[in-house]
Each structure stands twice: as structure tokens, then as C-alpha cells.
Symmetry: C2
Subunit: 352 residues, 2 copies
Amino acid sequence: MSFERALLRDVAPYMPGEQPTGDIIKLNTNENPYPPSPRVMEAIASLSAQDVSRYPNAVSQRLREVAAERYGFPGPEWVFAGNGMDEVLAMTLRTFVDPGDTVLSTYPTYSLYEVLVKLHGAEWLTADLTDDYQLPEGFADNKARLCFLTRPNAPSGVAVPREVVEQVCETFDGLVFIDEAYADFANDSCIDFPHRYPNVIIGRTFSKSFSLAGLRLGLAFANPEIIESFMKTKDSYNINAVTQAAGIAALEDYAHMETNVARIKATRRRLTEGLRELGFAVPDSESNYIFASREGARGIFKRLKERGIFVRYFHERGLDVGLRISVGADGEIDAFFAALEEIIGDSKFGRE
Amino acid sequence: MSFERALLRDVAPYMPGEQPTGDIIKLNTNENPYPPSPRVMEAIASLSAQDVSRYPNAVSQRLREVAAERYGFPGPEWVFAGNGMDEVLAMTLRTFVDPGDTVLSTYPTYSLYEVLVKLHGAEWLTADLTDDYQLPEGFADNKARLCFLTRPNAPSGVAVPREVVEQVCETFDGLVFIDEAYADFANDSCIDFPHRYPNVIIGRTFSKSFSLAGLRLGLAFANPEIIESFMKTKDSYNINAVTQAAGIAALEDYAHMETNVARIKATRRRLTEGLRELGFAVPDSESNYIFASREGARGIFKRLKERGIFVRYFHERGLDVGLRISVGADGEIDAFFAALEEIIGDSKFGRE
């Protein structure tokens, strides 16, 4: 006898990238190779026994105040905090989408969206990006309750122009969730859109640029009416005391994040150019990963893994021609290139 | 223009107890007055920068292994970990209840259930407990997809006999979620039920007996088929690295928790007897709070608050005659009684 809901039976769970341990080079889940701000580590270590034994602030008040100020919003009523961006995404469905409604996105995009939409009992509609990862003509004419737009896109790293996103926000009937998980690595962002568009939610995560993947913190910025709706559906105490303190410390040491981002962008340039020299097609990425296509991508993926170097390979249509490679530390990228040149030089390469 | 789902418009959000700060005595949210194990604090302080910057173990593997061993289950496939018991409760609905289905519980019970059920678009059905907080005749004959049973009950603190719960598990058609948030303060528990009943989920929290309310950790114990369903609906990385480490440390220093529980039970006895002497009706509580009824409860609540002593007052039917008082530290209970005797001695008492 099974108790689970019938709709779960057809949902393939989201597959996060592997989290192997040991002496390996991990370029598969877009973590930040550099440590978080020392002020974050201090905030964690200085937590008191009472901070641990008492319930945390139910609405992450101080964190939202600091975030509002940092990102140019009038106050905390423009900010919602989630247990990682994943929770923000799932809650966006629970708060604004009824089962049976349609949710629009692009293909490709962050693959978690589809899982969440199906778990919610909603319909999943996608429009293919063009060959250079731009929005197709008439994208916003699709009818749906919600649209997920990743900017920069996953896994290509390409950011569609702000003007194009603006046009979507103006013409699309429903809510537009702009997933800016990687925006700190991009040339610009849409963080100012909620001031002008009542139908826009901007999603941010602390997992990438701020090096806090282990702590789970995501933010949503939107007009106060939307934030108030989130407050109705959230778990009573969704962000624990440690994460609230760490998030505040991270925002207060913003320069630390910017320094790490600058290093990652420099390494991204080197990674992109090196791969192009080896015959890979690599679109200009505005993210902390690049997508590199070349014949025999799957074989290269496997051979890298044998050498303890983990990148991401997707079996999906159009993505099975390439590798998504996180921009690691410089030494990691050196080791990656050394292994890659060996593999490509190997005469057996590409046969399977 | 509103974007939120129509069903949210009629849901009154859950109201957690106040979290005032400053020089007050807090007996209103059932936190543990004693600090967590020093090993928990060590585990938090010794988190490395890499623990923070990398994604945590997606399935809380080690935590679930330690919990399975501690509570007598064959392995981690019998255990699910949630971001606080609140997440476990919400996920139970998302995983096992379709919108439109009925969810059964008692009245009174933990008031969050009703909010979660309505947010999920399900129907909320309750059967009144008897005057001595026992399950009414024929309770399990109600048809529903899921039943929430709090044992010990909130807010009375009374635990219905195990045999009665067994009978519910045997005869009820749907899933039975036994919420054992406070079971460590009780004389016995139903933690062994999942071995015998495929339709039982036992919920536990670290917020009470383990003094970890600030970290958000709840567990569910059930047969592996049920746990697997939870795994499909959970957020990819729902428990952060700090909470996983702290939960393991807490379970490994189980004796610390037991010592604190013994102290709280001793204070509970004193609190119960003292209140009875002052004319309150207090059922025997197996929890870390007691429910004390007496004429003029609301006035007493207000006067205690004026004196900086926070207890909980519920406006709901049948509960507006009493106060729910968390079992604090001995000094806090001394101060509570001193204030209470003053209030009750005051001639103006009970007039409003």
C-alpha cells in the first residue's frame, strides 16, 4: 500500500551534482573556491548558547533590513529570506501558482524548476532559447501564471540583455521571477526592476558569490504586497539563528565578496580562452561556470572523472554536447587543463 | 492587482508566541531554559570555511545514521530530517495529501496544523477531546487521508495512553502522524510504532528537550517507503551544514539532554502543585509546559506581562480559561510565583 500522492509517482527527483569527498578537484556544482568572509566565520563561532536554545527571529528582521539597505530598497518589507534559493523557488509556486496553472520558462534552464513545478501539480511550459542562448521571438506572449527566467542563464552563462527582460516584464501577464543566483558575476543585473514592475521577483543566493552554500540562504526582492504573501506561506521559523547571523556578516563585508568575484572573473577569462584554443565552443559567460562544447564531450567528462576532476555533464537535449565547468581556483584550473590536454592528446579519445 | 493564490486570502497566518527581548522572563514558547550540550557549541564553533562554502550533505546522511541507531531503527532509510518539525509537518501534507483531501486532528491541538492544511488547500476536520483531554469515542472512524495526533497533547500536556494510539493506528484508513515534539518529557512514547504500523510517522524536534530551537531540526521516523516519498519532495539541501553537525553532536551527548529533562520534570512538579494550591485546575502534564485554568486567566496573563513575565494565552474556545506556562528554570518559576501571588492577592483582580 502506498500513501504518497499520485502526482509524485511521475516526478523524477532533481539530481544535484555529485558531492564526492577526498582528494579531488570539484568543478561540478558552482561553489565558490574561496572562503567566506572571516566576519562570517566569527559570527558563527560567537553564537551564544541562548542563540541556539531560543527560537530565531521568525521573520529574519535584521537580515532583511541590512539586505534592503545594501540593494537599494526602501525597507525590509521589500525583502524575503528563504532557506536557500531552492526554498524561495518552491515557495514562489506555493504562494502564487495554483495546481493546474502553467509555469513558463526557457529551455535550457535550471533543471530544478521543472521538478518543483511538477511536484506542485502545475503545468510546465518551455520555449527554446535561440542557438546563442537568447529569448525567442514572442516569448512573453505565452500565457502562464509565472515565468522563471535565469539571468545569467544556466548552464550557458549567457545573460540576455536587460532591455529584453524589461520587455518581458512589461508584456507578460503573470509574475516574472528573475533568478539572479549568479548575478554578482555578471556585467549588470535587474535588481532595480521591482521598483518599476509590480510583477517582478528578483531571486538571489548566498551560495555562490558569498561562499555560503553550506548555510542555505536565498533572498527575494519584490514589492511589499508580494513579500507579504510570502510571509503567509513560509514556515514559522524558516531561517535559523546561525544563517541569519552569517548572512548579516556577509552583507556587511561586501568588499570580501567583490574581491573573490574579481578573481573568479579573471580565472573565467583564462578558462574560456584556453578551452577555445583546444577547440571548444564556449559562449561568453557572465557566471561562475562556463559551458564548453566539443565532439566527444561525454568521453572527456568520464576521463576527467577518472583523474579525480569533477565537472558536470547533462544528458538532456542540446546539452549533451558539452561540459559545464565551474570556475575554480587558479590551481584547480591548471590541473584541469593539464588533464584535459592529456585526454585530448590520447589517440583513443572520442571513440566511444 | 494581486498575484497571490485565492486560497491564501482566507488563511490567518500562524501566530508564534511573542519573542520579546530585554530583561524579561520568557515562559511562553516552551523553549528549554538550559543550554544545549557543550559538544553542540563545539561542533558549531569548529565548522571550517569549507563546510560553509560547499553544499551540505543533501540527505543529512550521517545525522540520519546516528538518529537511526539512537532510536532503534535498522538504518537511515527509516529517518527523514527537516528544517525544524514545522518543515516536516508541511512536507507531510505536500507528500501525502492532495488538495481537497481531508486531514483529521483533535481539538485542541497544535494550532499550526490547521494553517498548514488550509495553505495546502485541504480540508480540516477536528474531533473535540473529552474534558480530560482524551480521544473521543470513534475518533478513528473519521475518514481522512492523514491524521495529526500530538502526544503529549498541546496545550494540555496530557498524553493519551499508548494503547489508545495503537488502536487508532490499526483502524484509521490513512496515515497517522504522531507528533512527539515533547515526548522526551513524557513517561513513554510511540517511537517503536513504525516497526509495526506501515501508516505511522513519528515526528520529533530538537527545539525542546535538546535546546536547539535556534537551529531548526526535526526528524520523522517511518518505514522506508514513506521516507523515500519525503526524499522526493524535500528541497535539495534542506538542512544546512551547521544544523547537521549540531544535531549529530546533540544525539551523541544524549545524557546531557536527559539531565536537563530530569530537572525540567522536577520543576514541572513544583509548578503544578504550586498552581493547584493557588486554585488553578492543572491536568498532569507530560510535557515541558502546563495548562492552568482559573477564573480571570486573561487578566492574570496581562498582569504577568506588565511585570515582564510572558506566558501564553489563547483566545480559542475552551482555551481562553487558562494559561499555558512553559516550565522554565527554577529561578524563573520562583519569580513567576512571586508575581502571581501578588496579582491574585490584588483586590482588583478578575474584575475586567
